[in-house]
């Protein structure tokens, strides 16, 4: 996609989203759209380390939950010292905390085989949940409630929102577009080409001058930070956070399924996967239980991995290549 076309698409998406926000007041749509955008950011984040670099993260739910809980903790702590922080402070805090966790986990395990990193992230998510189950400050296993703030007035009152949910949707829209821009930038940059070399053959990459450890650590940090960004506004949306829901199975399986279904080698793969799968899940969620939801995603993931390992985008590319050869 050429640069002009890309920015045009981003602008169009932004305008469409804003128009949508201005034209309707049905809260349900905003909840659904928020959920899809949240999944989109998680899928894009996962793919930076998973699809671009080839290191699988099984603990996405852990990163997400830590982002959410950093908001919970800060939201309790800052007012106690007299600070009333706007949303972007929480988003920034989530990014920093989770970025550091990504860096730390990476530093401990990315010098070994990718398998050990995957296992370590899974164990990390479980330990994170254990920790939150025990941390009284954020409500431990029983969870904690967050009061919905008033919708903010921005730009000296010129921009206001009729509900906080609408505001969160717009924030999430902006964050999603930012994630897409970051992901595309990485994919088309020298950094991204280095990551692809690591993914294809790490030893050869190292011997061709790629500083593999450094690039892997940066990739893990970016992934962590973006997942923290996805999780940070979550408490304000759902108003009640407990470890069971924050470290959710659905988030864990979606973060892997969406990029794989879309196609991990391309920056737009996770976008395709998230939009398709996320929308399907929102449509079906009124009719099926959340367990059946996870079951179906699991089946789709396994089926996709067996039958279409390069995802939908890969399939389409293969068909086009075949058509070119025969045409």
């Amino acid at each position: 996609m050429r640069l002009g076309g890309f920015w045009g698409l981003m602008a169009a998406a932004l305008l469409a989203g804003l128009a949508f926000a201005a034209l309707t007041n049905n809260e349900y749509y905003f909840f659904a759209a928020y959920a899809i955008l949240q999944a989109l950011i998680m899928a894009i984040a996962w793919n930076i380390l998973g699809g671009f670099t080839g290191y699988v993260n099984f603990g996405s739910a852990g990163f997400f939950a830590v982002g959410a809980y950093s908001t919970v903790a800060l939201h309790k702590f800052l007012p106690s010292i007299g600070i009333d922080a706007p949303l972007f402070v929480h988003v920034l805090a989530g990014a920093v905390v989770c970025g550091l966790i990504g860096l730390g986990t990476g530093y401990l395990t990315l010098r070994l085989r990718g398998v050990y990193f995957a296992i370590a992230t899974l164990a990390l998510a479980i330990v994170g949940q254990t920790f939150m189950n025990n941390w009284g400050y954020v409500g431990a296993a029983k969870g904690t409630s967050i009061l919905t703030p008033d919708p903010p007035q921005l730009f000296w009152g010129y921009v206001s929102f009729s509900s906080y949910v609408k505001y969160l949707f717009v924030v999430m829209l902006l964050l999603s577009l930012m994630a897409i821009v970051i992901s595309r930038y990485i994919a088309t940059s020298r950094f991204g080409r280095g990551l692809a070399a690591i993914r294809d053959d790490e030893l050869a990459a190292e011997c061709m001058g790629v500083p593999t450890l450094r690039l892997k650590l940066i990739s893990a940090t970016v992934m962590g930070a973006l997942m923290g960004v996805a999780g940070a506004p979550y408490p304000f949306m759902v108003t009640f956070v407990d470890p069971q829901s924050a470290f959710s199975l659905v988030i864990a399986v979606n973060s892997i399924a969406m990029p794989m279904i879309g196609g991990t080698a391309y920056w737009y793969g996770p976008v395709v996967g998230a939009l398709l799968l996320g929308t399907a899940q929102e449509v079906l969620s009124v009719t099926i239980s959340s367990e059946l939801n996870v079951f179906l995603v699991g089946v789709v993931l396994v089926g996709c991995v067996i039958l279409a390992p390069r995802g939908l985008v890969g399939l389409v590319n293969d068909m086009r290549a075949k058509a070119k050869r025969h045409g």
């Binding site: 020298r190 692809a196 070399a197 294809d200 053959d201 030893l203 190292e206 061709m208 001058g209 790629v210």
Partner: protein
């Protein structure tokens, strides 16, 4: 008088209880062509793994262009000019041939030394190995000899001062061997020192100015090809008599 480019002293590498390299010395001058031979399991690949940094040696020193690189990370050694090709080719399979070359061109070469137009440079290299017009071919499905050529092309793209070629000709036909040899001579003509590891003796003897022989982790002989051919120790190592 050519300068010493590589000086390896007392290189030792163990894998658990197994001693793969036992106190091996190796010197190389700029632009020199060295053949490294020895029976299977004698430690040749381990040696280049240690020199290139894929492995860290247990004992010994490696001095390259006057600097001690013994504990330097592999990618830093590549940037200084030590480039190796792999015995079993390791292309970046999801990339085209051109993209394969871009990786070393963007990472192995210092920013200041990068040519203005990377693509032109890449096509020059492709010409050297005989890949003209194939820049956009997918690298995942190449013939054996083409994969070897890609290995060498990629090594070239890294602007080496020293190229270590690990059995680039194994399993190739006679004319294919000559093609690879041709590329290596062209490289050497540009001033690149080459260490060639091979089992195909006619290639080794045609190419090398000097030959080093390893057996069971030790250097057992060193000299011109003519001297090596007559060395009884070498004969015993290969024939086991």
């Amino acid at each position: 008088m050519a300068e010493r480019i590589l000086s390896v002293k007392a290189l030792t590498k163990r894998f658990g209880g197994f001693v793969a390299l036992d106190c091996v010395d190796l010197q190389l001058d700029e632009g020199e062509r060295l053949g490294l031979i020895g029976p299977n399991g004698s430690g040749k690949t381990t040696m280049i793994n240690c020199i290139s940094g894929a492995l860290l040696c247990d004992q010994g020193t490696i001095i390259f262009k006057g600097a001690d690189i013994t504990r330097l990370a592999a990618h830093r050694r590549t940037r200084r000019g030590i480039v190796r090709s792999f015995q079993i080719p390791r292309p970046f399979r999801t990339m085209t041939i051109l993209q394969n070359l871009m990786v070393p061109m963007e990472y192995a070469v210092a920013p200041g030394a990068r040519g203005g137009d990377l693509e032109t440079e890449a096509r020059d290299i492709l010409d050297v190995v005989g890949f003209r017009g194939r820049a956009n071919d997918n690298s995942g499905r190449l013939t054996q000899v083409d994969m070897r050529k890609l290995e060498l092309a990629r090594a070239l793209a890294a602007k080496p001062r020293l190229l270590i070629s690990d059995e680039a000709m194994a399993g190739l036909s006679s004319s294919e061997v000559d093609e690879i040899l041709d590329i290596l001579f062209k490289l050497n003509g540009r001033g690149v020192a080459v260490i060639m590891i091979e089992h195909i003796m006619r290639a080794v003897f045609r190419f090398s100015e000097r030959v080093v022989v390893l057996d069971a982790g030790r250097k057992i002989a060193e000299g011109t090809p003519a001297q090596i051919v007559k060395d009884p120790l070498v004969e015993r190592a290969y024939l086991g008599v």
